[in-house]
């Protein structure tokens, strides 16, 4: 009984942890959207900033990956 409760709560926690991925998605969308609006205003400067955009995406995405990892740990390792 207690075992089942722990498992159930762990799965619930995993589900809650996955909401963090939504935040990462918003962040990545923000980065790319702002990059695009900037690039359309000044296309000549866009090429030089692509790398910066990818770095920004990577940083924003890392946090989503962390929450995904927490979810996986809750599901499989706890």
């Amino acid at each position: 009984m207690e075992e089942a409760l722990v498992t159930g709560l762990a799965y619930a926690g995993a589900g809650l942890a996955c909401t963090g991925m939504g935040g990462a998605a918003i962040g990545v969308g923000h980065v790319v959207g702002n990059y695009l609006s900037g690039a359309l205003r000044n296309p000549s400067a866009a090429a030089g900033q692509t790398a910066t955009m990818f770095i920004g995406i990577a940083f924003a995405e890392a946090l989503g990956i962390f929450s995904f990892l927490v979810a996986l740990l809750l599901m499989f390792a706890v």
Binding site: I55, I65, F66, F68
Partner: protein, 256 residues
């Protein structure tokens, strides 16, 4: 210890899923069923060996002819070379070009391992935290040692942001130090997490394909996720390489 027998039992018992989405990441010996020692030949060995062959195929066999007007294979090799070379030059600066072979090695290994992992039945070596942690720790240690070797204790100025107002500087320094030590963690978990997540999601959808009602949806979803994973495989290798360049730049020019 984590061989097929228990996982099959698990799948049979679970009922919902035909196979477990994490089964694909199990490290198992290639020959026999012995314990996994340090030198055991496992599926890790096989897929890393294939990655080596892929790198040799692209970079050595492709450029065999040394043609002035490149053929298809040679174009790919030159494209990869030019892409990483330009990235190192742009991000790490002119004096970062010395470390170009090192970054090229990381990039080629990760990109080949990622793409090989997309093959059906494949084992994705870069989805293991053991692998990416070593890659990231290698980068972290190299950068830190290089920073101290080149600048001595001047390297610590990296954490002392002279552009900020004086009262804020200790706080910022603390934040900078923490973020510096989180780097290898995020660097490794980003790559492993992306690979693991994508492959696990594909497997989850593949398991749903056994249910007749939703199998068309599931197969379409697998196709879409697979396309996304192809993109992610490349982008994660790129991101890993570019972050290495960024860290390298910090070591070469620690002054903000």
């Amino acid at each position: 210890m984590a061989s097929e027998a228990p996982s099959e039992a698990h799948g049979a018992e679970d009922g919902g899923l035909v196979f477990h989405p994490m089964d694909q990441f199990i490290v198992k010996p290639l020959f026999g069923d012995s314990e996994i020692g340090v030198f055991t030949i496992t599926n890790v060995t096989l897929w890393m060996g294939l990655a080596i062959l892929a790198v040799i195929g692209i970079m050595v066999l492709g450029t065999r002819k040394r043609a002035i007007v490149p053929g298809r294979g040679q174009s790919i090799a030159e494209l990869a070379y030019g892409f990483i070379y330009k990235m190192v030059e742009d991000v790490a600066g002119k004096d970062g070009v010395k470390y170009f072979p090192y970054i090229m090695t990381l990039f080629m290994f990760i990109v080949c391992a990622n793409f090989l992992g997309l093959l059906p039945m494949a084992f994705t070596t870069t989805s293991h935290i053991a692998v990416t942690a070593i890659l990231a720790m290698a980068v972290f240690l190299t950068v830190t040692i290089l920073g101290f070797a080149l600048h001595g204790f001047g390297f610590l100025k990296l954490f002392w942001i002279s552009a900020a107002p004086l009262p804020l500087r200790p706080i910022l320094a603390l934040i900078e130090v923490i973020s510096y030590f989180v780097r290898p963690v995020s660097h490794s978990i980003r790559l492993a997490g992306n690979m693991m997540a994508g492959h696990a999601v594909i497997k989850v959808f593949a398991a749903f394909a056994a249910v007749t009602v939703i199998s068309p949806f599931s197969i379409v979803a697998i196709t879409a996720i697979y396309a996304l994973e192809t993109l992610v495989s490349f982008i994660q290798a790129y991101v890993f390489a570019i972050l290495t360049c960024v860290y390298l730049k910090d070591a070469l020019h620690p002054h903000h």
